[in-house]
Each structure stands twice: as C-alpha cells, then as structure tokens.
Amino acid sequence: MTPMVERALLAASIGLPFAAALVLAIGGWLARPWPERFVHGVATWTLGLVFLSTATLGIALVLRGGHALDWSIPGWFGVLDYHFPLALSADLLSVPTAAFAAGLLVLTAKFSSGYLHREPGFRRYYLLLCLFGGAFELAVLAGSLDFLLFGWELVGFTSVLLIAFFHERHAPVSHGLRTFVVYRICDVGLLSAAVWLHHSVGAAHAHSGALPWWGVEVPTRTADAVLVGLLLIWASLGKGGQIPFGGWLPRAMEGPTPSSAIFYGALSVHLGPYLLLRAAPLLDAEPLLAGLVVAIGLGTAIHGTLVGRVQSDIKCALAYAVMTQVGVIMMEIGLGFRLLAVVHVLGHATLRCLQFLRAPSVLVDRAEDEMRAGAALHRRVGALERRLPRPLRLWLYRGALERGFLDALLRDYVLGPLLRWSAQLDQGSEALHDALFGRRVPSDSSTPIEGESEVLP
C-alpha cells in the first residue's frame, strides 16, 4: 500500500465523522430536520467507513512490520519558526485503538436507532455521536500533544452535551455542568504541558523511544520533566475519572444508555490512560512520576470498589466498576506494564460497553432468574467482608455511602469557599462604589428565590 493511500485513509478516519456532523448540523441550523432514517444512515455508514479505513490501516501497519506511518501536514498556521504541528501517526497504539473505537461506534450507532426512536433529541444525539467519533479518532491518531489536545477538548464538549442530553430535566444538566467543570480544570494540565514542552524542548512532537509508539519528548532539565509529567497526570485524572475528581463519572450516567456505554464504559474514560501511555517516556525517566501514577491508580481502585459495592443503581454500580478498572490500568502503566495496559483497555472497554448496553434489561433478567430459582436472590457476603471487624465494616459502609466523602470535601472546602469569596469580592467592590456614587438600585434578578436553585453542580 502506498504512503499516499495510507495518508488518505488517515485523513478519512478523522475527516469523515466531522463531515457527517456538518451535514447533520446544517439540517438542524436551517430548521429543516433530516428524517430519522437519513440521520441514522449517515452516521452509521460514515462510522462504518471509518472502521474500514482504520482496519485497513491496521493491515498496512502489520505489512510494514509495525513501523509507524507519521504524517505531518504543513501550513495550517504558524508564525516565524513556530508552526502548529498538524501531525498524525498510525502506530501500534493508535491504529488498534482507532479501529476498535470505530467498531464500537458503529455498533452503538446501530443499537441507538431503535433505542432512541422518536426521541425529540434523536438528531442531536447522532450529530454529537459523529462529532465525538471524529474527535476521538483525532485524539487517538494525533502525532503530537498539541493536536491530541484538539481532539481531547472536543471529546469533552460532546461528552458534556450528551450527559445533558435530556435537558428538559434539572439533574442531567446539573451533572453535565459538573462534568464540564472537572474536564476544564483538568484540561488545563494538557494545554500547559504542551506549551511547556514547546518552551523547554522546542516542540511537543513525537519521539521514538523504547516503546513501539510515539511518546512525549523528555526535557533535559529534571524540573521541566517533573512539571510536564505532573501536568499530564493532572490532565489524565479528569477524563479517566480518578480520585479526587471521579465524582462526575456516576453522575454522567444521566445521558442515554448508548452514550453512557460508548463514552464512560468504552472510549472517553480510557483517554486518561491513553494519554499516560503517550507520556510513558516521562514516567520512565522520572520514577517519582511513575510512583504517583501507581498511587493514584491504587487509591482510585480501592475507592471505586468500596463505593461501587453500596450502589443500588445498576449504571452507578457499573460506573464505579469502570473507575476501579481504570485505576488498575493506571497502576499497570505506572509499573511499566504498558502492553498489558493496552490489552486491558481494549478488553475492559468491550466488556463495559456490552454491560452498559445490557443494563436496561438487567431487571427483567433478574426477575426471570428469581422466577426460575423460586426465591429472591440475595447478594452473597464475601469472605473478606465477613472477617472485617464490625466497627471497621460500619465505618467503611458509611464512607462508601458518602462516596468516600470526596464530593463533600470538594464542595465544602474548595468549590464553596471559592464561589463565596468571588461573590464577596463583587459585593465589596459594589459597597465601595455605593459610598462614592450613591446606593445601587437592587436588581430583581440578583437574589435567589426560595425553593429555586441555580443550575450548579
């Protein structure tokens, strides 16, 4: 296969979903909604073509003996010697992930047509799915940290809009906003890391190390390397649902089940570990960073498994199971088992996607099981659980019910004080101006009404 064809396949893998999203968006913007059949057809066929493109790239990669195809497209924009690196890379990490993601997206698109039939947001769902597909493929196939950021941020926007998909209700919107806050705060790390790499190394471009895929360039100064590493770990915490930011993950289940499956069971949540796989040279160079990743993964795994055990809602229980497994994957990355982590990501994503898609039927299944058994089925108490002293068990139970108190800590000691301080600064400034220019006529919209709450996480 010629490099020209491979480049065309790379471009198609990213460009086709965006083109489909554009077609769907134009219909919505012109207030001439496309028929459901057309919308579903466009999305499914487009994602199918993406799957074919990435699968063909995979075959080409095997034929090339695993050597990556790097393609840097010049001239998107730049000033003097700085050029935004519009770089793509088809390597042993990106191509399997991209093909796997495209396959899951096709299946989900197919499944959703019946699940969301005649929903008011049917078209919006497919538009966001195509946009997500393009963004995810872009993040995965990017050949530089800067370009990865481009797809990474778009994945965040589409995730949030899908969590708030049922936007007639308050809870999905509130949870969507909460997720967005976490994403944006953590995305600061990725952008800052890319900028700092340009500043310290001169480029955030690909660099071939010991791994069979590109990784970030390691700055020569230890301080720079540690800073970039910490920023990338910070960025991975948000998308990966790791402590202390994982609270958004169970709340993200407010979206339609197929989107929960594809975003939080399969793809989006694994972008955190994916980023760390790209940052592997940094983890190898600085054991401190690797240790931190292991500690975060371990903490998240323990937190997720404890809290997940007391969830009464199937999707929430699955969310904590996802969190636990992603924590384990982070530990694998930190400990240096990178190939194991890749296999774990793909296997875990497949299983969770299936479990999420089956979640709505689980009650029926259970009722059938109980009917066959002729009695109610109770959860068995595990051996470890039986051996724990009762006070400790109760303490852990209470902590698990409160989701490890992490949400309360963030709300009471971080977000709440910050928002109060912000309001007080404004009030102080107004009081000063009241003294100088006369009292302000109170606005009828500045005070809350009893019983009504703002859309805030």
């Binding site: 998107w76 481009f150 928002l419």
Partner: protein, 433 residues
Amino acid sequence: MTNAWALASAVVLLVGGLLAGAGPSGLVARQRAIWATSVAALLATAMLLACWLGGDSVANALGIGAEHHYLVLAAAANPIICLLAATLAPLGTHRPHTQRAMLGLGAVGNAFLATDEPVVLAVLWGASVVLALHELSLLPSSGRAVRMFGFYQLVSALSFLAGVILIARGSTTAGQALLLLAIGIRESALPGHGWLPTFFERAPMGIVVCFCLPQLGVYAHLELLHRTLEPWLVQLVARVGAISALYGAFLALGQTNVRRIAAYFTMSQTGLVAFGLENQSLLGWSGAVLAWFVQAIGISSFLLGIAALEARRGSLCLWRSAGDPHQLPRLGVATLLAGLATVGAPLTLGFVAEDLLVQGSVSEHPALGLLLVLVTAQNAITVMRVYFGLFTAGPHRPGEVDLAPREFWTLSLALVVLLLLGLMPGPLVTFIR
C-alpha cells in the same frame, strides 16, 4: 486604502444612524439601521475574505501597508458588531435614539481606526464617551450609573488628551503612563474596571456592545504605544492584563445576575488581549490581535444572544431563567457557539488565537502565560453555565419563538466567520503578522 475604507464605513454607519434616529418608530429605525450596517458589514466581510484568500498581493493592490494589515481585522469587526447589535438588540429597550447612538458609536469606532493622528484620536475617544453617556442618562433611575460611568470615562478621556499632549511636548514616560491609564479604564483593567458591571446592568445591550467590544483602546495602544514603552511599563501592562483576566474570570463564576456575569466575562477576555499586546515575540502579538478580532465578534454575538433572550423573557438570572430547550434551540446553540469560540474551543478561530497567545507569552512570562490557560478554562465554565442556566431545564413558556430571519442570518454570518477562519487560519495568520 484601509483608512479610506474604514472612513467610508464610518460614513455609511453615520448616515444610517442619523436616518435610524429620525425614524418614526423603533421598528422603522431598526430597519434603517439594519440596512446601513448590512452594507458596511458586507463590505467589511468582502474585504476580509479578499485579504484572507489573496494575502499580501490583494493587500498591496488595495494599498494596505504591511504594518497595518492587522487593521483589516479591526475594521472588519466593527461593522459586523454594529450589524449584530442592530438586528439582535430588543426593540423594547432600543428606541430610535438608541439605534442612532449605536450606529454613532460604530461610526466613531471606524473613524478612530481611520486615523493615527493623536489629537483626532483623543477627540474621537471623548466623542464615544459622550454618545454612551448621553444614552445612559436618558434611562430612568440611572443616576448612579451615569455618575459612575461619567467619572471613570471622564478620567479616561482627560488622561488620553493629557497623555497625547505630554508626548507631543517630549514628556514621553509621563504621557505614556497617562495613555495607559486611559486605555486601562476603557478596557476595564484592574483597578479601573469599577464602571463595567453597572454599565452592563443598566445600559441597553446594543450600546454596551458598540461601546466596549470594538476595544478602541487596543488600537490606540498599537498606534501610539506599541514598542515604544519603557521596560517597566511593558511589564506593568502584561501583569495588569493577566491579573485583570484572572480577576474577571473568577468573579464571573460567583455571579448569578447574567448581565454581571457578562461584564466580568468581558473584562476577563479583554484582559487577555491586553496581556499579549506588548509581547516581544511576534507569536504572542499575533495571538493578541487575533483574540481582539475573535472577541469583537464572539462576545458581541454571545451578549446579543443574551439580549435576544431578554427580549423574549425579561430580566435574566441563573436562579430562575431556565427555559424549555426545545423552544429556542437555535438561539441557544448560537449563543453557546459564540461563547465557546471566544474562549478558544477547537474548530474555531478562538483556538488559534489562544494557542498563539499562550505559546508566545510563556517564554517571556512563564507563570503568567500558564495562568492564561487557567483563565480560559474558567471562562469556558462561565459560558457553559450561562448556556445551561438560560436555555435548558426550564418550563415551557408560551409565545417564546426561536430566531427571527434577521437574527438567523446575522448570527449565521458571525458564526461562519468564526468557524471558517478557524478551520483555515493559515492565510489570515500569515497576513496579519
């Protein structure tokens, strides 16, 4: 040529404003204003597209000097702002005299861009203050707002004039300091920002947009101060810009009154431009100029989207102004996209501006450069909070209708400019540098 073109646009806007002001009703005034601003905006867009596609060769053919390439962006943004204001500003709060003042501010803005004569700039600077102040004084119960706006802007206008005179007489440092004070107040930089929230709360949104968003201070800075400041003043500009951006972003998060949120959001975003203006690297400077353009169109669309919602729903507050998302889907999406473009979302020109600004700044001001990333994250949260708070999770409101055709086409133009240039920014970045 740029000057002649900017001046021609100013004349079109001035004539349109006078005709609108003479209109027998708000409706007629608006129609006249839309005609005039459409002509100016179409000319502006054509000029922008020609320079974007043709680059230096078109600019040379049009007689635009290399040092003034950035002016094409500013001169294009100003009529588009006026068009957005004319089409989206609600009739209830925008009577014929308000339409006249809006277009008058647009005309003064374009005339400002057409000259680099310091005294003329000072006169036009003052004229825009008088226009806005007069309009503010016509509002009921606006005494405090008039006193605040008048005080701050009088200090700004007098400082500008004094600064220009002092520089002409050879007292360069003192003159530059005074000019920076004038520009700082106009651009609502700390601590001269006190007038902004009250102005946003009280003034009609069309006036707010036409007064604040052309950011005449940026042009004044580039023409009168750029690359001539003492090193300590350069440092001061960067620090004040960055701190203002952070302060505005932080205060926007704690507000519930939508107009006050919009005020602090605007303050934060303009602080980013101020931060990048004195950047020694061409990279950061290009980012600041692009951000100037993006904000002019993006924030105007965002604010006027809010104003259009106010026209349908009355005074807005995040505590109680949620709405049925199926009633105003296109207005909601347009407001969201405009806001996201402003804060540097991918696929928009804002992403390019943010990237250049941060990449260019971090070598000179490492800590402040990284701070900008935090600021844009906060502002993105503000945009999403406003969108969710106003357009979703609320009751069905009988009689509320989505975009009217005039609103639809104007917002489409603004969004196409932001998205198209965001997808293919290369020629534009090459052109302005």
